[in-house]
Symmetry: C2
Subunit: 317 residues, 2 copies
């Protein structure tokens, strides 16, 4: 940094724990920080679980960035109570993009008949022609419009897909490409009206077997069902039957029930079923996404702006 | 249409030839036209080749929409010469989106290791984890920034890819996500700097074997090469060798050399090669895209705006 330029902020000392990684060191530097010891730091980036977290942070610490997106286990500890003056941020939202990218990939591959192409051993153009679909003008129900659902909608829109967003409240999801937002209790209206379904809702007692025999029966012989949420949201036996009978076009599952899917399960052999073994967000992509979030939040801290994903320690999320 | 509202334009009579299809009739109506006989029409939508085209159009015809994107064969006829006062439009650009969607699908599927997933018969999560890539932050060279290339760039951007656009002149392609435009003669600089390559350039003597052994050697073991242009742009033997040796991550080809790819060709069996039999734009999607173009151009004609893809009968394209 050139000397004598008063407008340029001084580099901010930030600690990194429980271990230091080159990726996170670079992220802190890129955000405008300098990696330093905890005792001399104004902030702490914590790339670990609650177990090893310092009992009592030095008084100089103003902000702590945690690694996880969900912070339930942190609320089971005294960490927040012990540090009432410290701002804590989670990684909420940081990991959604990789899962959304995976979901888009699986849906688009299915719609364009890629699995059958991968299995082909000869030039079957005329046979394949009628099976090639497009997302252009297709209606896609995105069930669950949280972080993953919203990132997915942003990816779907440029393809010209029309999105029916489904969330608990029915509060309109105002993103380009969303033609309608439907509350979860009106989900039965959605099945006959959509071309494809992506399941991205949390696993709760209410969402168990959200897609079952009756729901599948309302879809089209060209419909693809994608699950990037939890296996329990789909009735696996009903899905296998629908795939066998051609009730729907296909299914692409990053999560299964049971999970891991055992060897010999019919989903491994059905040509219109694609299973990815819960690898939509593998460790190296998680680390890269966390580093991106660290860079962004360090930059915000350095310039005095509000950080992303501040934890509300009173409300508990 | 309600009576007595002077601002609403009257429906415009438009003829359809050589045959009528419900899809095109709907498109004309949706654009604000009424399908009528040629003698009473102000415009003609021509869904055929030059052979059956009327020798002499009625004087009332002001505009003709042709089906093809390339209109070379129309210049071999007297059609344009015989009708100097008529505006002719082609379908140029209308078919690019389906090919771009296909290219994005093939690239993203490769990057996310889908082909190996399709072939798997067991839950191989830890084995697959390191192979899952992302388009986020990846550099993608789009060789050929015409209709398909530009549509592809628009699809790549939301994933967070950084695009190096390659065109003949090097005139900057100013689309979001393009970090650099490189003229074709400086293509050798691109190979070592890109993560992936999509070939979407016309087949000319200059572009023959544009991707060969030397070019592939500069790519990465994780690079995917996608071809949606013509088979001749890639040296097939060099590609097969690179795929066998792990010089690149994989290749996805909608076009091949030779084409059709014969049974028993090594590309059918390599797990990191995906062949789609030139089906990125099958007939039903072409028809749907043409209908979209007809609707748009009818709407423009009805409201007196310039049509898309007007043919310059003097310049010859």
């Amino acid at each position: 940094m050139p000397e004598g330029e008063p407008a340029v902020p001084r580099s901010v000392p930030i600690a990194l724990g429980p271990h230091s990684t080159p990726l996170l060191e670079r992220a802190i530097t890129a955000g405008g920080g300098t990696v330093t010891e905890l005792g001399a730091a104004r902030a702490l980036v914590w790339d670990g679980d609650p177990a090893g977290f310092p009992q009592r942070l030095p008084d100089g610490i103003e902000w702590v960035q945690l690694f996880s997106a969900g912070v339930e286990e942190w609320f089971d500890t005294d960490v927040f109570r012990n540090h009432p003056g410290v701002v804590f941020t989670s990684a909420a939202g940081a990991f959604a993009r990789s899962v959304a990218e995976h979901a888009l990939m699986m849906l688009l591959s299915g719609v364009r008949y890629l699995p059958e192409h991968v299995l082909a051993r000869s030039w079957r153009q005329r046979e394949f022609f009628p099976h090639i679909g497009t997302l252009r003008g297709a209606t896609v129900a995105v069930v669950g419009a949280g972080g993953i659902g919203r990132e997915l909608i942003a990816l779907l829109h440029p393809f010209g897909a029309r999105v029916i967003a489904v969330n608990r409240s029915g509060t309109p999801v105002s993103l380009p490409g969303v033609v309608e937002t439907v509350p979860a209790h009106r989900l039965p209206e959605v099945w006959p009206r959509t071309d494809h379904v992506v399941v991205a809702a949390p696993a709760t007692p209410e969402t168990r077997h959200l897609v079952g025999k009756a729901e599948l029966a309302h879809l089209k012989p060209t419909s693809w069902v994608v699950n990037v949420a939890r296996g329990s949201l789909i009735d696996t036996d009903a899905l296998v039957q629908a795939l066998r009978d051609g009730v729907i076009g296909g299914a692409a599952l990053d999560v299964t029930d049971p999970e891991p899917l055992p060897d010999g399960h019919p989903l491994w052999d059905l040509p219109n079923a694609v299973v990815t073994p819960h690898d939509s967000n593998p460790p190296h992509l998680r680390n890269a996404a966390f580093a991106d979030r660290v860079r962004e939040n360090v930059a915000r801290f350095v310039s005095g702006r509000d950080p992303l994903a501040r934890i509300d320690v009173v409300a508990g999320y």
